[in-house]
Amino acid sequence: MLKKKLLRDLRRNLSQFFVIFMMVLLSVMVFAGVHAYMDGMRISAEQIYEAYNLADLWMTGEGFSEQELKTVLADENVAAANRVLTVQVTPDNMKDVTLELNLIEDNDVCRMYVFEGEAFDPEREDGMWLDREFAKARGLKIGDTITLSYEMLHVTAKIAGLVETPDHAYSIKDSTEIFPDHNTFGYAYLSRNVLPGPVRNLVPFPSIIVDLKDPELFDETKARLQAAVPGTLAVTGRGELASYVGYQSEVEEGETYSFVFTALFLFIAILSVITTMRRFVKKERTQIGILKALGFRKGRIVRHYISYNLLLSVVAAVLGIVLGAALIGRFFLNMEMDYFEMPQAHIVMVPLVYVVAAACVLVIVLVTWLSCRRILNEPASQALRTEVPAVKNTRFCLTTKGIFRKLSTVTKWNLRDIARNKGRCIAGVVGIMGCTMLVVTALGMFDTIQNYLNWQFRVLNRYESYIVVSSSCTDAQMEALTDTYGNETSQTLALEVKDGKAAPGSGTPESEAAQSGTTSTQMMLVTDAPQSLIFTGHDGKELTLSEEGVYITEKLSKTLKLEIGDSFTWHVYGEDEWYTTPIVGTYRDPQNQRFACTKGYLEKIGKEYRPDTIYSMEELDRSAVPDGAEVIQTKSGLETGVQSMLGRMTSVIYLFIGFAALLAVVILYNLGILSYSEKQYQFATLKVLGYRTKALRHIFNQQGRILALISILLGLPAGYWMISYIFEAALGDGYDFRAYIRPVSYVIAGIGIFLVSALVNDLMSRKIRSIDMVSSLKANE
């Protein structure tokens, strides 16, 4: 019989229970959805990395011989190894494209996942295995022909297979890009046999990719290989592979979202449960008394009232898991896979999701019990009596003093009503605050990326194009290049840096081998491009680099614990000479955390400056790569990738805003109903006294406006905090751009939420017209 009562009560109080249902649904849905794609990405990657032999170790040198490869293969911990030559080229007739060309002999490590076409054949002389995403973006198919030119060589190959490889999950052109743009950048594999016969054996292979039997023994293997192959300039692991790191950091980013949103929705759900159940049980007080008087045991009555939310939260949690995986999980996975290349990527539900869903249900049940227990514990005789409203005077004292005395009676009444119904008001404030946070976060994401774009492409990089100089560029070619494109140049050095501060010794070469202690790999930008490359200090103002030492980005200085005035010791990979140089300044860079110095300082410490990049203030033709150059990149090309990402982000932002508005409507509607039912008899009294409906609606709406204003004022800074937290947690160590929200975004978020709130309040206040004075006052009696 009580089951019938339960179902009828649920139907009668549909809107209040609907909010509890929605909040539990959203909490679980967000958590399950985000985890479904996040864990899906992680597990899909683990499976592909394992099955397709993602390399564990990368050896870099001038060019490894066949014998050196055999030496590597002979190591006890090496399972497989391949030599690779990687160059960036622009295919003929695709002037806006940069293709990363990998010339290989075999494909045992970082094996290709073939989507279409045939498997890699090292003997084939005209085959190309092309990045599937690039092919899709460019409309290329099996059998199409691509012609490439690299220095003096011209190669024409047919697309033999459309592939993805585990080391290209996150495939960007270079460190100046953040987001992959498959339309302008792709990768391809060619067999060495594609080259003309006489050239084949002359190909230098500057990389060996190695699959280890036991990746745990990386350090020992690295030391052994460095010793066994003297030509090795650097040995790196997965931690230094941009693809691996980029993919991993994207997966970890999801954890931040899932935590923040689940906590927010669950918190609102708990508040909704507290306010709704307290009021509901209060309303049911007499019925509880009747049930007790009839002989129902306390435990059974408790179970009955708990079962309302148990039923709802179980259904919501199950639905949340299903919808979270099906909608949010798939949506985000598909979106991620627009950027990342991971064959067979699929969503995964890990046991944690079920545990969290069960925990949500338990929390709701517990809160329900805590909310109801006082009334449920009352003896039957007491429960059958009308409860005397408890109004503590102290709550209202504030509004009888000071400036509050001057407020209108209606305002005072509303303020006291808020104080009297704290639970409902706090639930409302937190709910609307959450919605404001969502909108601010959504707009802030857009603003932050725009701000980053402005900083990166308008403030720091003043050039229009840059030319990557080939490593084999001759002096004559370099002279010709600088004659044509100007003298704005830079060089990027890969450094091995000793951890910790060194004894001061500006520019002192240290001939002895590396001292004991750990080292890290860092980059140093040597600039001779004062017009093209700008540096900014902590406050964003331009900085002129002195020739007295090295500069370090603020973020890297924190990582390495180096401050201005400290010295540090380093050498360039491939060179033996160690230097100890002072830090003379710090600067901020949004996406490259590294050292920087001027050409003058480099030469001052006795090192030769050999530019690897030439900057031009003109937008160059990317297909007209001159002799001695490897590739031409334009700023507009770089920006296009980010802009396309922003375009996609816009739809997510609209989704966020729509979601926030929906949430606001649901919360406000529920609280409006609670608020209305609390005030119904008071409004009936005022109506009897002669107040017109319009005046009463004004009173009702005023309270809504006060609460909305408080919520928005709290929600705006909370939104900033949330986006700062998301960016801090989501961006890797390589990035340093903070959350930025334009004032207009705050205004839009504030006004938007206020209008939604005003609209819902106004709709709710229409119920006042239908208050039946007679029955309302009778009911109160």
Partner: protein, 233 residues
Amino acid sequence: MSLALSLRSVSKVYSTGGHSFKALDQVDLDIEEGKLVVILGPSGAGKSTLLNLIGGMDIPSDGTIRVNGTDISTYSENALADYRAGNIGFIFQFYNILPTLTVLENVNLVADLSEHAIDGKTALEAVGLGDHLDKFPNQLSGGEQQRVSIARAIAKNPALLLCDEPTGALDSATGVTILKLLKEQASRGKTVIIVTHNSLFADIADVVVRLKNGKIRSVTKVEAPMNIDDVEW
């Protein structure tokens, strides 16, 4: 201010769940100004319905209610609100004062509604609550709360005071105090209508209206109403 009331063939039918119930049936009644009128009858007789119709809280299903010659049974919602605001002072059994407003604020709440309202403080002093202005309702006894309700009603300076079981929730001593206040209002020219099931009220009334099953059984004019203190409560 004074008010004369005239009800002709007034009926009120409530319909719920396909069933209809006639709470008032063809009621004719004339009430002169400045009288203390007591409407008596058992539960379900239609007393409160009659009071609600006179007070403009409800509209009749049939018939006319004329106030100083104007038919209020055809008034719009806003016109009825204005009628209540300007002419009627309500006093309820359970006081219906707003718990979150102080005593003075509760009374002042109506000051804006009526053109001829009197100062809230004066009204409260008139009911003996001049020392309780800043208290909240829950700091007062039941009798004091009812006096706030009366002060609120008279603060509008209405022509008609409608009282629904005004002493129903009070002990007899407090009830007597309240009745004296109401009688005092009648002596000042206001029409006071009290709805009650307590037949002792008939002794102090100028006019006694008896209702049963929605119909008026009798209307009695009392030539010499008793003094309240002389009634054995």
